[in-house]
């Protein structure tokens, strides 16, 4: 009959300060000393996280301590580039130019020759001097309607609208657009202007440009909310 041999566990070495290191691979360790159940291990430290910079590359990091649940990174002050991407901030366009300037552009459009379309833009001007304000339309690189008055020649704040309509383009019908301008003043009637400067380009429209100017640089003209609507061709 086999005899069971009872072994007694080895006597533990004295307790010691824990020297557990956080890592990415489990390891058996080699120290002969034990730790108490209420001992403290170094899992955290007091080093503040870095301040991220724009275009920083992702990095796994090398510190052998864990991050606190409520830690916070510094954030860079955003300088604001030329491009505001989807969901960003925006402002109106404004000018003090006394000669025609490209104020507002809808680019990367695809309006086929057969498609009628309409463009709207909201306008305003400040006081500051007795001055007119003007608006015009350019399609692709062709000035369709030269800058025309949209408000009164007065030293007062005014707001208005400019709307441009073009039918389907067809040879011999290339000046079939018109522009409507209106200022929110009870004494000013809306104005309908014919397409006077040039034929509508008989090609795909890719850019709609709103031009503007003021008669006196002490006045600021604003334009915003450009919308281009393309109608289905039958």
């Amino acid at each position: 009959m086999p005899v069971m041999k009872q072994t007694t566990p080895a006597e533990p070495e004295p307790f010691d300060v824990p020297a557990i290191v956080l890592g990415t691979v489990a390891a058996e360790g080699s120290a002969p000393t034990a730790i108490r159940s209420d001992a403290t291990i170094v899992a955290l430290d007091d080093t503040a996280p870095v301040t991220q910079a724009s275009a920083d590359a992702a990095a796994a990091g090398v510190a052998a301590v864990a991050a606190r649940r409520d830690h916070r990174h510094g954030m860079p002050t955003l300088g604001g580039g030329a491009v505001t991407r989807e969901g960003g901030v925006t402002v109106e366009t404004t000018t003090t130019s006394t000669t025609a300037v490209t104020l507002l552009t809808a680019s990367a459009l695809t309006i086929a020759v057969a498609e009628p379309f309409q463009a709207f833009v909201a306008l305003r001007k400040t006081g500051g001097a007795v001055s007119l304000a003007f608006v015009g339309i350019t399609l692709n690189a062709t000035l369709i309607i030269t800058t025309i008055e949209w408000g009164s020649n007065s030293n007062q704040i005014q707001q208005g609208l400019c709307s441009f309509v073009s039918v389907s383009r067809a040879t011999s019908y290339l000046r079939s657009g018109y522009i409507t301008v209106s200022a929110g003043e009870p004494t000013l009637a809306p104005t309908l202007i014919r397409q006077d400067a040039a034929n509508t380009p008989n090609v795909q429209i890719t850019d709609v440009l709103i031009t503007g100017r003021v008669a006196d640089a002490a006045v600021t003209m604003g334009a915003d909310e450009l919308q281009v609507y393309v109608y289905a061709a039958s």
């Binding site: 002050t77 955003l78 300088g79 604001g80 580039g81 030329a82 491009v83 505001t84 991407r85 989807e86 969901g87 960003g88 901030v89 925006t90 402002v91 109106e92 366009t93 404004t94 000018t95 003090t96 130019s97 006394t98 000669t99 025609a100 300037v101 490209t102 104020l103 507002l104 552009t105 809808a106 680019s107 990367a108 459009l109 695809t110 309006i111 305003r124 400040t126 500051g128 350019t138 690189a141 062709t142 000035l143 704040i157 795909q204 429209i205 890719t206 850019d207 031009t211 100017r213 008669a215 640089a217 006045v219 600021t220 604003g222 450009l226 919308q227 281009v228 609507y229 393309v230 289905a232």
Partner: protein
């Protein structure tokens, strides 16, 4: 001389407010405000009621931030008018996307027309960027690889001065327009009336520019 900067003025000023800062408050530069002088992409022109005359080529400086974003002098298309004075401009760019059957350029309707009844479980749909002529032309204005492939707004601020500017004046202009930490000197000299010297900053939801 024409100076082009990136973005709208981070100080919140609009064109009139920036003009006030440049000419009245800080006296940084003398702006070109003649009724007849027009800066265009093609050159400087004298414009009158009876006609126009070419004066000479445009002397310009495009800011480093514009160049970083991929906007150079070539970004401005044929016939582009810079006018004179101060202008805060924006361009809206909207790539067109279409939902197509994976591996084809067919919409679901077109696919069903071509291939007949198909189990939807067998199809995988994807969003395809339609690189039409308008987009190709627009993208070509940017430095290679710099054109954002999503709805976006390009804000630019430019001004035309009568003379070239010394470096310290240029840096101050750059600060007023491109630096979000820039402080206005003597802010009490600006009107707080709505729209007079400041423009309201608002959130843009990124809706399409051209709608069908």
């Amino acid at each position: 001389m024409l100076f082009v900067f990136a973005g709208f003025p981070k100080t919140g000023l609009n064109a009139g407010g920036l003009r006030h800062a440049i000419q009245n408050v800080e006296r940084i530069a003398l702006l070109e405000e003649s009724d007849n002088v027009q800066y265009r992409k093609e050159g400087v022109f004298l414009v009158t009621k009876t006609g126009e005359e070419y004066i000479g080529p445009v002397e310009y400086r495009v800011s480093d931030l514009c160049l970083r974003d991929g906007i150079t002098w070539d970004w401005f298309g044929e016939g582009w008018a810079f006018g004179n004075g101060v202008t805060v401009h924006k361009t809206l760019g909207s790539p067109e996307f279409r939902t197509v059957v994976h591996g084809t350029d067919l919409t679901l309707d077109q696919f069903l027309t071509w291939y007949g009844a198909t189990k939807l479980a067998d199809l995988e749909l994807e969003r395809m960027h339609v690189r039409h002529e308008g987009w190709e032309k627009y993208e070509a204005r940017w430095l290679p690889g710099a054109c954002p492939q999503e709805n976006h707004i390009v804000h630019l601020t430019w001004l035309v001065s009568k003379h070239r500017l010394p470096p310290h004046a240029y840096r101050r202009l750059q600060g007023l327009i491109e630096d979000s930490n820039c402080q206005l000197k003597e802010p009490q000299l600006y009107s707080r009336a709505p729209g007079e010297h400041f423009s309201e900053t608002r959130q843009w939801e990124g809706a399409r520019v051209g709608r069908r």
